[in-house]
Amino acid sequence: MTHNNRNFYFSFIVALGFLFSLPFWVDSEYFFFAAFSVLQFVILSSAWNILGGFAGYVNFGSAAFFAIGSYAAIAGYKLGFPQGICILMGVAAAGIIGFAMGYLTLRLKGVFFSVATLAMSVVLFTIVTNTPFLGGARGIYVIVPRESPIGVGQYVHWLYFLMVGMAAIAIVISRAIQYSWLGEGLKAIRDDELAAEGLGVPTLKLKLIATTISGALMGLAGTTFPYLITYIEPTAAFNLSFAVNSIAMPIIGGIGSWLGPLIGAVILSSIQQIASVNLSSSFNLLITGGVLVLFVTLAPNGIIGFFKKRDGK
């Protein structure tokens, strides 16, 4: 399977240009709130896919990494750091926790890793809820300017620009990994970890790299969240929808490639936006759960897999 870097980067730049131009001619402010959510899931899904899709290790604790990103950014905010530093703090914190958790659990069977990620999510939630500096159960308010710091548009447009940039980073990293020695090694681990290890693939090292990058990117997705909703509190940051969606979207889009999470995130997130306006939010998760089960049983290679089959590859 050859991949064409020139084609990709050309389309990529065009798409980015288009996305960056939207605030200049789209009037609806709601559109950018919705777009923020979609982009958030693009980052989360792409990040999850690096470990889950490429290597086959299912992370149930995406919400935790997302929340770490949010809370580390908030900590920076409380300490008076500029937004850029807060974002870096979020990424670093999430990456470090990803590494630590991987180190503790990646030597066990994949299933134990998954259960451990869930455990970590709850433990962190409990710690945050009981820590006054992070606002405890009540949370912390964030004061944001009305105007965008770059002088054009509202603050929400500024956040939108940030998210487009972050999504771009997530996709570029995801794609780079997929076509590199790291991606091939992770695929070998996913196909048959024992055989891979027995043939010289340093499985633990590769898994740790993937967990760290994946965690860091999920944290990245969380760093702007408090600025958007102007507060942060545990149930919002650790919301289960982050965990479900970051698993459902790559599976629905197709886990073998960087493109799958993008497709899955855009489609599913848009549907959810529409559904939550017209129905209730619990219905939302029911739909997601149902679609997830359907895809997992009937179309395990996702949307991309479906199209590949039709091409007869």
Partner: protein
């Protein structure tokens, strides 16, 4: 003169492995010289595969040591042993099913093919993979999904993957199982040809004709114990060996 000339390539010393109360291997010693072709036989359940797993590092041994060119590798993880020079093929082929034949080789080359490669060899991993596949006769299948191969093709791929790691010792674990007459000869040719590349081979097999053709030295394991080790003709005439296979 350095005593290293007479040092074995691989020395397994006093290997003991227990599973709960069951002793799978008991104080097994095995030396393999550089470029040597050693056959390992024994009844089912005698511990052959366990020994292979111990040497390759998939199982932790309870007692004993394993040396490679004099270095103690007993505590090394499996992938590290591959880098050090011991590669194995699996009894039941385990190809990376989502990858093509070429990709199966290339991924190994990415991680272990660089070792011990000559400085003059500047081919890319992609080219090296093609070279290896040509050597085993799988070139025309290079872009097929590895899960779609025939039995004999899969066994060749198994060996090719192990060879990609540029090993000094290749352990072929029942690489001929389930193959028919000409197929056996085909694969056996490949295995025997490795000596010319300076690679020692430890072959675990049940097909006696192949074993006798292949082995420069023959080792027999019965119920976790080594009961014979030496010249193949002498070993199979050994009454204890005969008893283990025929008598009860």
């Amino acid at each position: 003169m350095s005593s290293e000339l007479h040092q074995p390539l691989v020395r397994a010393q006093g290997i003991t492995k227990k599973f709960g109360g069951f002793i799978a291997l008991h104080q097994v010693d095995l030396d393999i010289a550089p470029g040597e072709r050693v056959g390992l036989i024994g009844p089912n359940g005698s511990g052959k595969s366990t020994l292979v797993n111990c040497i390759s590092g998939m199982l932790k041994i309870d007692e004993g040591n394993i040396f490679l060119t004099g270095n103690n590798i007993t505590s090394l993880a499996p992938h590290a042993r591959v880098h050090a020079g011991i590669a194995r093929s699996f009894q039941i082929p385990r190809p990376f099913k989502s990858m093509t034949v070429l990709e199966n080789i290339r991924v190994i080359l990415n991680f272990s093919g660089e070792q011990r490669r000559e400085a003059s060899d500047k081919k890319s991993n992609e080219d090296k993979a093609i070279e290896i596949l040509s050597g085993v006769g799988l070139l025309q299948k290079k872009d097929s999904l590895s899960g779609s191969l025939t039995q004999v093709e899969m066994r060749k791929l198994e060996l090719a993957r192990a060879m990609s790691a540029n090993p000094r010792l290749l352990i072929a674990d029942e690489a001929l199982a389930g193959l028919s007459g000409t197929e056996v000869d085909e694969v056996l040719q490949l295995i025997m040809g490795m000596k010319a590349q300076g690679v020692s081979v430890l072959m675990i097999e049940h097909i006696m004709s192949a074993v006798m053709k292949f082995s420069e030295r023959l080792v027999v394991l019965v119920a976790g114990n080594k009961i014979a080790d030496g010249n193949p003709q002498e070993v199979i005439s050994n009454p204890e060996v005969v008893k283990a296979y025929l008598g009860e």
